[in-house]
């Protein structure tokens, strides 16, 4: 007997299929026969898809909240003891729910794309909408097939196991996955515009690249936030005091971030110089393929990882879909590359264009390094029949030179003008930041960093930060002289006048904070472990910790054992920390719950490693890592930069097209709000 939740949810999923199919057919009919009414049907299908996916998702949330165990997904992840908050967010806590959530977010993007862009002339938007519907079709097939969350469970169980303990142990689980999906799924939109541009024959026009860039900026901002939130979650929950383990799923989220970052930069070259058109098409298609590949790797169980859900037939569906996307991508890139051959010329090798080329080279090489490392265990096992591991040491060794190069370029790029830099310009722009490099390199040495890459990262961050800052200060100084503005006003007006450019520089600063945080915390980590009885003390990084108490507590869904430690400065207690172990009744291994005391300069991180069942002693691992909070702060700055750069403008500045093309006539009154 199907409950109302199950009926509504399953019904909505089934109903979505014909709507999506209708929409996919309607667009070519509308375009080829010039039937405006069919276009309305196509767009209507996009809205209907969003409505139906919302209905399905809300039915699932309702089933979760009401503990409707007749719904298979609820029986799998629900439990009466789980707090309401974690019950709701378990919507994305396991395979089927996460696919449903994905489809919902995708349908939301589809609706937004149509709503914001449908007034654009030409056939770009109709074909983009059709492409998004095709992707929706894939996820809808998953949802009525191998990933159906609304199977009827009979007899109805009285209770369920609850979500994976790791996922209900920290509030960041409410933040990281939605951000990740918004970022990941959002990369479908630029892909849809790329396909739309080729299908509509408007790929030579720069229109699609401008729309794609804005959408990529938004998704990139979400993805950046998601990656940082994921690092933070890992730091707060996994108990080893680190934030990045080059886990396959971390890599999977990082891969499209790298290509999207490359695209955000190279799109500027296309807009300004009409170059790199084929390359940009590749980056957009590649970014989308990497999001699907990442989902495949993590959802198929092919690679073991913290995040891997279940195994099953779903992997084959993804493999088929990746093949289709790759073939489609290959066809559209190959088919249009003759038309799109570069028309631009470079005036000089000493120009911002060249730096962007190098930026793209290193970002792509970075992506390839991570991709090779992630897939290599699979390849090696297939080729040699031997299991090999590719972990932190490999990725660090391979990526550090690339990271150093990128940091350096982040200083050179903003300093160089477009087209050509004169010798005098080169001198006046590239030499002063060297002072910043020297200052930060000295700071690294004084702080005690001996690792050569650590010092190099500091030096390059010093160089690049100075160069980026000079873009602000020189620009503001010009405004002050010209308009007599105060410094703050001049800064604000400067940014306002060209948000894309200065938003980008702000994002650069975020990256500098992250880089310093990582360089410092990974090279100067100190760590002590001690088994303490009550009243005993241990030392870490000049601080004294005294074990005050070991305690236990029953909660509905778990048992908690904790230790209370006082942080002492001399005889004065400056704070307490309570590292805990949470024992969920569905899992043998306890979930460590470290406690962290953050300061501007670093984190004191305590983990309860072991305890005597009689409570007579506890083993505490204490880690001191400098500058870890700078990573989270830097992530915030990156996102702020993305918002500054990508926030849609109400009015549209008319920028003449770089390469004159017969632009399709635009409706005069309606201005597309989402244009860059």
């Amino acid at each position: 007997m199907q409950s109302v939740n199950g009926l509504v949810g399953h019904g909505a999923l089934l109903l979505a299929l014909p709507f999506i199919a209708l929409g996919i057919i309607a667009v070519p009919v509308a375009v080829n026969r010039g039937r405006r009414d069919w276009l309305e049907i196509g767009y209507g299908a996009v809205y209907a898809n969003f409505a139906l996916m919302s209905a399905a998702a809300l039915a699932m949330i309702s089933a979760l909240v009401t503990h409707d165990f007749s719904v298979s997904y609820v029986a799998q992840v629900g439990s009466r003891e789980t707090p309401l908050f974690y019950t709701i967010i378990s919507l994305w806590g396991a395979l089927e729910g996460s696919i449903l959530f994905w489809a919902w977010v995708l349908s939301f993007y589809g609706m937004t794309v149509v709503a914001l862009n449908k007034s654009r002339a030409g056939n770009l938007v109709p074909y983009a909408a059709m492409t998004l519907l095709c992707i929706s079709l894939f996820f809808s097939i998953l949802l009525v097939g191998p990933a159906n969350p609304f199977h009827v469970v009979s007899p109805v169980p009285q209770n369920g196991p609850g979500p994976n303990p790791l996922l209900q142990n920290h509030i960041l689980m409410a933040v990281h996955p939605p951000l990740l999906y918004l970022g990941y799924v959002g990369m479908s939109v630029p892909f849809a515009f790329a396909v739309g541009a080729v299908l509509s024959g408007e790929a030579e026009n720069n229109d699609w690249i401008k729309v794609s860039r804005t959408w990529t900026m938004a998704s990139w901002g979400f993805l950046s936030a998601a990656i940082i939130a994921g690092m933070w979650w890992s730091y707060e929950v996994l108990g080893w005091g680190g934030y990045w383990a080059w886990d396959p799923v971390e890599n999977a989220s990082f891969l499209p971030w790298l290509t999207a970052t490359a695209f955000l930069h190279s799109a500027m070259v296309q807009e300004r110089r009409g170059m790199l058109r084929v390359w940009n098409l590749n980056l957009v298609v590649g970014t989308f393929v990497l999001t699907i590949l990442g989902t495949f790797l993590t959802r198929s169980g092919i690679i073991s990882s913290v995040h891997a859900f279940t195994t099953g037939t779903i992997g084959y569906y993804f493999l088929a879909f990746i093949t289709i996307v790759l073939v489609t991508g290959g066809v559209i890139v190959a088919g249009s590359s003759d038309k799109l051959r570069s028309k631009g010329k470079l005036d000089s090798a000493a120009s911002r264009e060249t730096v962007f080329l190098l930026n793209n080279l290193f970002l792509t090489a970075f992506m390839l390094t991570v991709l090779v490392g992630t897939l290599f265990p699979l390849v090696a096992e297939a080729m040699r029949g031997v299991k090999v591991s590719v972990g932190g040491p490999f990725f660090n060794r391979m990526s550090l030179p690339i990271i150093a190069a990128l940091l350096f370029l982040m200083g050179v790029g903003p300093a160089l003008p477009w087209k050509v830099a004169s010798k005098a310009e080169l001198r006046s722009k590239l030499i002063p930041p060297t002072a910043g490099a020297l200052v930060l390199a000295a700071a690294a040495l004084i702080a005690g960093i001996h690792d050569p890459y650590g010092i190099l990262v500091f030096a390059f961050v010093g160089y690049a930060a100075t160069a980026n800052f000079r873009e602000f200060s020189i620009g503001a100084a010009v405004r002050r002289r010209a308009h007599g503005e105060s410094w703050p006003t001049a800064f604000l007006r400067l940014v306002e006048g060209n948000r894309r450019r200065y938003g980008g520089y702000i994002a650069h600063f975020g990256v500098f904070f992250v880089a310093l945080g990582i360089a410092m915390s990974s090279t100067l980590r100190t760590e002590r472990e001690a088994t303490l009885q009550r009243g005993m003390t241990m030392q870490i990084a000049g601080r004294t910790l005294r074990l005050q108490d070991i305690w236990g507590r029953e909660e509905p869904q778990r048992q908690v054992v904790g230790a209370t430690l006082e942080i002492m400065n001399g005889n004065r207690v400056t704070g307490t920390l309570e590292p805990r172990m949470n024992f969920y009744r569905t899992q043998q291994e306890p979930v460590p719950t470290p406690d962290v005391r953050s300061g501007v300069l670093g984190d004191l991180y305590l983990n309860l490693m072991a305890f005597r069942p009689d409570g007579s002693n506890a083993t505490i691992r204490a880690i001191y890592q400098p500058l870890v909070p700078w990573i989270w702060f830097g992530g915030g700055v990156v996102v702020f930069g993305a918002i500054v750069a990508g926030w849609p403008t109400a009015r549209r500045r008319r920028v003449p097209a770089v390469v004159p093309v017969p632009a399709p006539p635009k409706p005069p009154a309606r201005e597309p709000e989402y244009a860059a």
Partner: protein
């Protein structure tokens, strides 16, 4: 709590069907650091390259798991006995297979993993160098490009 502690013990003893069988149960005492800081540094360097068998891609240096801790003390003991880091790693490879190394041993097929990124940078760099030279050698700069405030 005792039930859980027991379960943990059972799980541990199963895991210790490995060279770490004689490791102490950690609730008693676990000196993570000894007085010898040079030995500690060498231990950390080796431990950072060995995979924790019960974790997701963490090294035995980073992992807080009990197995990793006992493997680390094994590393420390072997280094203290005068074995070279390479010998210690070889010992773990003989026990667990190549999988225990966090970077694949750089020989044979594995070299591919190291070579591809390097070749990509070199090849891409060469391509860009050629392209930039060709694009800049043209006598007529693109007349249609426009000034832009960006």
């Amino acid at each position: 709590m005792t039930r859980v502690a027991l379960r943990t013990l059972v799980a541990l003893s199963l895991l210790f069907a490995t060279p770490c069988a004689r490791a102490q149960v950690r609730t008693d005492t676990t000196p993570r650091t000894t007085g010898d800081s040079a030995l500690e540094a060498r231990t950390s360097a080796v431990a950072a390259q060995l995979r924790c068998p019960v974790c997701q891609g963490l090294s035995i240096q980073d992992s807080p798991s009990e197995l990793a801790q006992s493997m680390r003390s094994l590393v420390r003991d072997q280094l203290a006995q005068g074995k070279s880091p390479e010998q210690v790693k070889a010992y773990f490879v003989s026990k667990y297979g190549e999988w225990i190394l966090l970077s694949p041993a750089p020989h044979g097929f594995n070299l591919l993993a190291y070579a591809i990124p390097v070749l990509m940078v070199l090849g891409g760099g060469a391509f860009i160098a050629v392209a930039v030279r060709r694009w800049t050698s043209s006598p007529t700069p693109d007349a249609t490009s426009t000034e832009d405030p960006t």
